[in-house]
Structure formats: C-alpha cells, structure tokens
C-alpha cells in the first residue's frame, strides 16, 4: 500500500491563474529514496508543502497512510512525515542544540532517560555533541542544516521529506547524510529528497521524478 497517495491533485496560489501543479497522480511508498528534481520555480517546494498539509490542493486529494491528509493536524502529520525545510533557520527555535533535538523526542511521550539517550545518539551521529549547549542560530550554515536534519531524524518518522538537504554540506557530511538515508531505507522507512544535487541523487536515489510544466515525469 502507498504511504502517500496523491489523486488528481492540482494547485495554484490564491489570486493567481497559473497552476503550479496540474492533475498529479502519484504514489509514494515507505521504501527507497525518491528524488524530486526540476528547474527553479517548477513547484518542488510547493509539492513538498502539499505533502505535509501546509498547503491545501485546489483540486484532488492526498491520503497519508490511508487517511485523508486534510483531516489530520500538523502534529499528527509531523509524527509520520519528517520535514526538513529548505532554509533550516526557520525550524530552529530552542535555546540549545541539545534542547532542539530533545523538543520533538519529548513529544513522543518517551521516558526521560530514553529521551536523553536518543538525543545523545543523534548528536553523536551528526557530530553535534561539542555544540550541545550552543545557541542553534549561532551555528554555521552547514551546522544548522545538520541540526535541522538531526532534530527531524530523532523522531524516526515513517517517511522523511528533505528539501534541498545537501545545500551547505561538505562532501564528507553529504556522505554521512547519504549513509543515514541508506540506514533508514534498510529499516523500512521511505525518503523523499528534493534536490538539484545530481551527484547525490545518482548515488542514493532509487526512484527519480522530474517536475516539468506542473506534472511529474518518472525517469
């Protein structure tokens, strides 16, 4: 069964006549790495915002795990889809790096000692331990991106949705990210990557979708 089922979805921004997305029919499964590419302004980020319910389709419907997306709250969607924004600054709001990662994990209702352990594991993996008490917005661009990824990864959602995740990452950290994606896939989780990074896509993607003139072309 598809994890996300998109049926005849069209979208245009209010007050505009041009449809950014037209009659999209797509199934996204909880497996492999799906890469979404397309030219600037082709609607990739709009598509990602539709997938997490930030935007509502003007036509058609989206189902997440068998439930209509419009019937779920953002919190319910967030527990099933981990979304990493194109600009990580927008999703960092805690006083310390440690707190930033712990914020979502605490909302999962885990016992305190499990939360601490989980936070430590994630910080170690993303090499953020030495910044544990640093203010998130004072980190460098690459570190902020790693922190945004770490905060979402810690929630272990069924599907990860990453908008331009390799921007600002050095080759070593790109590989680290790719390896983590491989691990997630091995653990029966799906990943959707919106990216222009052709090398990264070639190396890790198992399915490639190109957005052109408001429609997807599967390659």
């Amino acid at each position: 069964m598809a994890y996300i089922d998109i049926e005849n979805v069209s979208f245009c921004y209010p007050g505009q006549s041009r449809f950014v997305l037209r009659d999209i029919n797509l199934r996204i499964y909880k497996e492999g790495v799906t890469a979404v590419t397309g030219a600037n302004g082709s609607g990739k980020t709009t598509f990602s915002k539709l997938l997490i319910g930030l935007l509502k389709p003007v036509k058609g419907r989206i189902q997440l795990n068998g439930k209509l997306l419009s019937s779920l709250t953002l919190a319910q969607i967030g527990r099933q889809i981990g979304y990493v924004f194109q600009n990580p600054d927008k999703q960092l709001f805690c006083e310390t790096v440690e707190e930033e990662i712990a914020f979502g994990v605490r909302n999962l209702g885990l016992p305190p000692e499990r939360v601490t352990q989980k936070v430590r594991e994630v910080m170690d993996y993303f090499e953020l331990s030495r910044y544990a008490q640093a203010y998130p917005l004072s980190l460098s661009a690459g570190e902020k991106r790693r922190l945004a990824l770490a905060a979402v990864f810690a929630l272990e959602p069924g599907l990860l949705l990453l908008d331009e995740p390799t921007t600002g990452l050095d080759p070593y950290r790109k590989q680290l990210l790719g390896d983590y994606l491989d691990k997630l896939v091995a653990a029966n989780r799906g990943v959707v990557v919106i990216s222009h990074d052709q090398k990264f896509i070639d190396r890790y993607a198992t399915r490639l979708l190109r957005l052109e003139d408001g429609q997807f072309i599967e390659e």
């Binding site: 967030g78 927008k90 999703q91």
Partner: protein, 243 residues
C-alpha cells in the same frame, strides 16, 4: 484624493488621530469615524475587507469593552447584581468612546497604504527628518510582514515536531509560544546586521549630502486639504477646551 502628496496624508493622519485622542463623547467620535470612512471610500480603500483580517482580535476587543463598561461608574444604573453596578450609562459611553477611537486609529492609519513606502521616505526627508531615520521607518514597515511570516514558520516547525497547538491546554500553549521570542529576536538582529553590511557595501552614508531623482511638490489640492484638516482640528479642539 489618491493623488495627494504623502506629506498631506501624514498631516491628515495626525489630525484624525489627535481628534480621536482628545474627543471624549461617543457621538463626536462616531462622526469622526464616519468622516474617516468617507475619506477611505474616496481613496478607494476597502476598510471592511482589511478589518476582517483582524477578526481574531474581536473577542479581545469585546472583552475590553465589557471590562471598561463594568468598571466605569456613574450615570444611570441599567444592570446591577447584589448591589454591585454591572452596567451603567457612563460605562456604555466609555466603551463606545474606546471602540470608535480604536476604529478611527485603525482606519486613519490605512490612508498610509495609498502611497508607496519610498514616497514616505522622501516625504519625511523633505520634512527635514534625517535620511537615516526616514530610512529606518521604511525598513521597519518593509520587514513587518517578513517577521510575521517567520513567526508562522516557527509555529509550523513546532507543530511538525508533534505539538498539537489546537488541542493542548492554554498554560502549556503559552509555554510553547515563549519559544517564538528568542529566535525572532535573534533573526531580527541578524537581518539588521546583514542589511547594514549590504547597505554599506552599496555606499550608504559615504557622502553627507544626498540627492534625489524625484522631489515631491505640493499641488493646490494639497494646500486645500491641509488647510481644511488643520483648521478643522484646531477649531474642534478649541471648542472642546473652551466649552
């Protein structure tokens, strides 16, 4: 009236707001509000469409009016409970005054929307306000929607990490809202710093004397509008003080 000089519009707003502050009776304030609405109508601004954007604040306004009405003693008692006056004519008068005053403030401020923000910088400079201060006014207006957008993004990010803001109790909700201030303040400082660097890189304040491609000029209708508003304001205030 849309073609008025921005300086004339600033004078109009100051006159209307001054009258709204000094008038203390519901009827004159209602007339002032109606006059402001007529001005907005002539300037083709849809007041009701804009005010509907603030509909979430309406319960707060209603609560404020009720509190004012209850705590303003005097006049005839219309409603009392166990000897405590709940509603008096004085209380109703006070809350109506506040309502019309707020509406006049809101609506007169909308006049500002009829000119481009660049024109207000020019207007302030020609009113002998230092360019740096005029520019700061422009920047603050320009960045206000950006910060509102950032607050929305942070709220979305919090919800996507499992916080159900619609369902959690108020006390917890307030705790989560405190998370908004630190990043917002930090981003404001960062943006201000980046803007300062970008402006200095483009030679901002290199020369003390600035020249402008376009200058604002008063027309006959500006003089008519200014004379009318200033005279009317002084006359109303004088009458208010004398009698």
């Amino acid at each position: 009236m849309t073609g008025l000089d921005p300086r004339t519009k600033i004078v109009m707003i100051i006159c209307l707001s001054t009258l709204a502050v000094f008038l203390n009776e519901p009827w004159p304030l209602l007339l002032l509000f109606i006059l402001t609405l007529v001005i907005l109508l002539i300037m083709r601004i849809n007041f009701f469409r804009i005010i509907m954007r603030f509909k979430k604040l309406l319960p707060l306004l209603l609560l404020m009016l009720i509190i004012q009405s209850v705590f303003s003693a005097g006049g005839d008692v219309l409603l009392s409970f166990q000897g405590v006056n709940i509603l008096t004519t004085n209380g109703i008068n006070t809350s109506l005054c506040i309502l019309f005053r707020l509406l006049t403030f809101f609506s007169s401020a909308m006049i500002i929307m009829t000119s481009h923000s660049r024109d207000y910088v020019l207007a302030l400079v020609q009113l002998k306000i230092p360019y740096e201060i005029a520019f700061m006014v422009l920047v603050s207006l320009r960045f206000l929607p950006v910060f509102i957008e950032e607050i929305k993004d942070t709220l979305v990010a919090m919800q996507l990490r499992g916080v159900d803001l619609q369902r959690i109790p108020w006390r917890q909700k307030i705790k989560f809202y405190t998370h908004l201030f630190a990043p917002l303040l930090s981003r404001v400082m960062l943006k201000a710093h980046q803007l300062a660097i970008a402006m200095e890189a483009r030679a901002f304040r290199v020369y003390r004397r600035r020249t402008y491609l376009r200058l604002l000029h008063y027309s006959a209708k500006d003089y008519v509008a200014m004379v009318f508003f200033i005279t009317a304001t002084i006359a109303v205030l004088a009458q208010d003080f004398l009698y």
